[in-house]
């Protein structure tokens, strides 16, 4: 009963958003249909496709290289390739324009070096859909990298050896054998990337691209039509939901991953000098674009800014961000654990469906989710708590609720894939040995899922540190997080002042990433 109740509470804001579909449809729909809807949909599809293809290749190829070959910098890339996860897409977008605009720092630098006139711009314009594709791909590819790497590590060595003996080249082994086998896992990671791309507003708005999400906000904030905006958001959710079901079905049919733990650890192939250089470059580029470049630009901005940032307020703000991240990380991972545990023993129940629905929360644009949250919290406040006072709205409690909804998909995917490795025979043995029900969860599953649980917590933490729109509207008075401080400057495009809190977001986002990468380094098998 407990998992069911929890799910109902957490799904409520999503239901509130979806309920708009049963409301009235205003005349604005005719306008949207006649003039902009086609643009919104086609540019969104283009964006998603571009990001998917790029992320899929960056994520799987880098994972393949670091798991199978020994080359210069391998042990460094193994963990550093996930660093871009600490950069929110909107911050990469801001640094991109700061660098590559006609008067951006990169163009200025080149002009100064080669003494060119001010009318020369070396770098192409990034304020378009291609720029957006690059921004999302290079900040989000680690989701695919993480799952692909652990899937590659679990691949049979003997299978690859046979393939090589049968005459497949290295590239052949990758494309014809290994990639098809890890496809289900990689697509699971890709789903997260797609959902995050769909829910983003900051980056696409900065590049002034008309996507479905910017359309939602235009309808709400410009046409003052929240109802239609919620309906648009619901359609987006339904599309994601449909995609989710399709993906799930294809994954169920294609359960390739083997649970046989007798695989010998892979002997890495040592690469020759020339090949080693190529491997180095292929791994370096994503790290450079997704992490080194933006960090360098942010540090440069921070030095240009005259105001000092490290003060009492900064410490308080960082403390807020860190504690919110830890609490919501643990809560969300715990929720995902309980839900997945229940599903394991009663598969195909309504809990399973609700869990998928809750995962869709990741694709809800933060502000729309916030509107659903406010309505839910006020409802609870007025009907179940003190009716003369507002207690839940504008409380940390409400904020945590929003984070859990927003990040459940991250925790769920990690716990879920962890559970896939626990065979049902283990459950049977533990039952025979007297561990049943919650006892089994505590004594058998939890120890086995330790790594998955930690991964889930850490992924949620790194997301919460970056979260902005829901935080802005749901937070208590005078409660600032680092993302909020950054936004306050970035909204006015005062990037010099925004740089310091942005660096802090990255630094704090690095804490969970640091632990994640430590896990990568210490264990060859990521649960």
């Amino acid at each position: 009963m407990l998992p069911f109740t929890l799910l109902i509470i957490f799904c409520a804001p999503i239901f509130i958003v979806l309920s708009s579909l049963f409301g009235e449809y205003s005349d604005n729909w005719i306008h949207l249909y006649n003039y902009v809807l086609v643009d919104y949909v086609s540019s969104t599809i283009f964006l998603i496709s571009g990001v998917s293809v790029l992320v899929f290749f960056i994520g799987t190829i880098t994972a393949w290289i670091v798991t199978n070959y020994d080359f210069y910098g391998k042990s460094f890339f193994e963990w550093s390739l996930i660093l871009p996860l600490s950069i929110p897409p909107y911050i990469l977008a801001y640094t991109f324009t700061g660098l590559f605009d006609p008067f951006g720092d990169a163009n200025n630098l080149i002009r100064n070096i080669f003494n060119l006139g001010s009318d020369v711009s070396i770098f192409p314009n990034v304020r378009n859909i291609y720029g957006a594709i690059v921004v999302f791909s290079f900040t989000l590819y680690p989701y695919v990298y993480l799952v692909s790497r652990s899937a590659f590590l679990n691949q049979s060595k003997s299978m690859k050896e046979s393939a090589r003996l049968l005459g497949l080249s290295e590239i052949g082994v990758f494309f014809k054998l290994s990639l098809p086998i890890i496809r289900p896992a990689a697509i699971g990671g890709l789903m997260l990337v797609i959902m995050e791309t769909l829910s983003d507003f900051g980056a696409v708005d900065h590049f002034a691209i008309q996507t479905f999400t910017t359309g939602i906000f235009r309808t709400w904030q410009g046409m003052y039509d929240l109802q239609t905006a919620m309906q648009l958001a619901s359609l987006l959710l339904l599309a994601v939901g449909l995609f989710f079901i399709l993906e799930r079905n294809s994954r169920n049919k294609a359960a390739f991953s083997s649970n046989d733990s007798s695989f010998r650890p892979e002997n890495e192939i040592r690469l020759s000098n020339m090949k080693s250089l190529w491997a180095f470059l292929i791994c370096f580029i994503p790290l450079f674009i997704g992490f080194i470049l933006p960090i360098t630009e942010l540090i440069y901005w921070a030095f240009e800014s005259e105001s000092s940032f490290i003060n009492q307020k900064f410490i308080q703000t960082s403390f807020n961000s860190i504690s919110l991240a830890i609490i919501s990380g643990l809560l969300t991972a715990f929720l995902a654990l309980i839900i997945n545990f229940s599903i394991r023993f009663k598969p195909g129940t309504i809990i399973n469906r609700l869990s998928s629905l809750l995962s869709i929360g990741y694709a809800v644009p933060g502000l729309i989710l916030a509107v659903g949250m406010v309505q839910l919290l006020i409802y609870i406040d007025n009907n179940f708590l003190d009716s003369t006072n507002i207690v839940l709205t504008g409380s940390i409690f409400g904020l945590l609720l929003a984070y859990i909804i927003k990040t459940y998909a991250l925790a769920n995917s990690s716990i879920e894939s962890g559970y896939e490795r626990i065979t049902s025979s283990m459950d049977d043995s533990s039952k025979l040995l007297g561990s049943t029900g919650w006892g089994m969860l505590a004594r058998v599953h939890l120890p086995l899922l330790k790594t998955s649980f930690l991964t889930a917590t850490l992924l949620v933490m790194s997301e919460v540190v970056k979260e902005l729109p829901a935080t802005l509207i749901l937070r208590p008075f005078n409660f600032e997080t680092l993302a909020v401080s950054t936004y306050i400057y970035a909204a006015e495009e005062r990037m010099f002042q925004a740089a310091s809190p942005a660096i802090a977001i990255v630094l704090i986002g690095l804490i969970p990433i640091f632990f994640l990468s430590k896990m990568i380094r210490s264990s060859n098998k990521l649960g």
């Binding site: 410009g222 945590l400 208590p476």
Partner: protein, 342 residues
Amino acid sequence: MAFMRKILYLLLVSFLSEIIFADNVNVYTSRHYDSDDALYEEFTKETGIKVNIISGKGSALLERIKSEGKNSPADIFFTVDAGNLWKVQKEGLFQSIKSEKILSSVPAELRGPNDEWTAVAKRARVIFYNPMKIRSSEIKGLTYEDLANEEWRNRIVIRSSSNMYNQSLVASLIANLGEENAEIWAKNLVKNFARKPQGNDRSQIIAVSNGEADLAIANSYYIGIMLSGSAGKEQQEAAKNVKIHFPNQNDRGVHINISGAGILKSSPNPVNANLFLEFLLSKRVQKYMVDKSYEYPIVKGVLPSSEISSFGLNFKEDNTAVRQFGELNPKAIRLMDRSGWK
């Protein structure tokens, strides 16, 4: 278990929002300038009243106020968008401002129809040009309407139609020319764009400065920020190349938008809220504010910052539209969609 329950209860209680009893004023604001924080501290120092802030997008704050209803802790709604002020006013959530100090120092056209809100600072949406490239005969007497003329084909930059300042500008044109004429205007203006709308107001000014375009439509205060050097040397240099033209000086005047605030009907601390507004509209605070934000002051006898003053102070302002922006905003957006203004 009982112990655990107690701990959980304590945790839960500590998560609930602090219920505010002391001397406070609670401000929901979509205006987040660093300099405003210093002002709030000054207010607390003078009056002993603590200023509690939630900042966010105006539209989202509005939803929160609406949902919170009569129990809302909000005293003041402060926004940079006249449209949102109008929305709150239309929903009947504001109370009228009674303070003689405010009513006597703020002109009627910069307040709500029944004094539901008052402007706190204003900005003009002006035309930037490079005097080395544009002859003074070309720019003299130029109006917003003229920007649609064929002679400006591929020469104008402006940001996207998602920007609220563009929406207000188009709303003001609908108010003055009628919807049909405004649409013809917008369609022709789009033909005159030098590039697909992109970037912020400053990017438009930079585009004019480096010769990518001849005219830019942007808000007045951006040039102040750029000239001050707080945005870097490149922007400071770029800003020195451009001049401001105030359009429509021979008829209705340049388009003005406001930052404004009002006191909510449900305000738990209306007296403090009133003091807070009076504070914002005192001469001393107005001067401090516009020196930092490069906006124009509302109160007479206060000068804008030196950077902004250097572009001239005796210009005519369009005072017909401020109240109508909100009402016409949805029309303006649909019109821009129809005319292909991305």
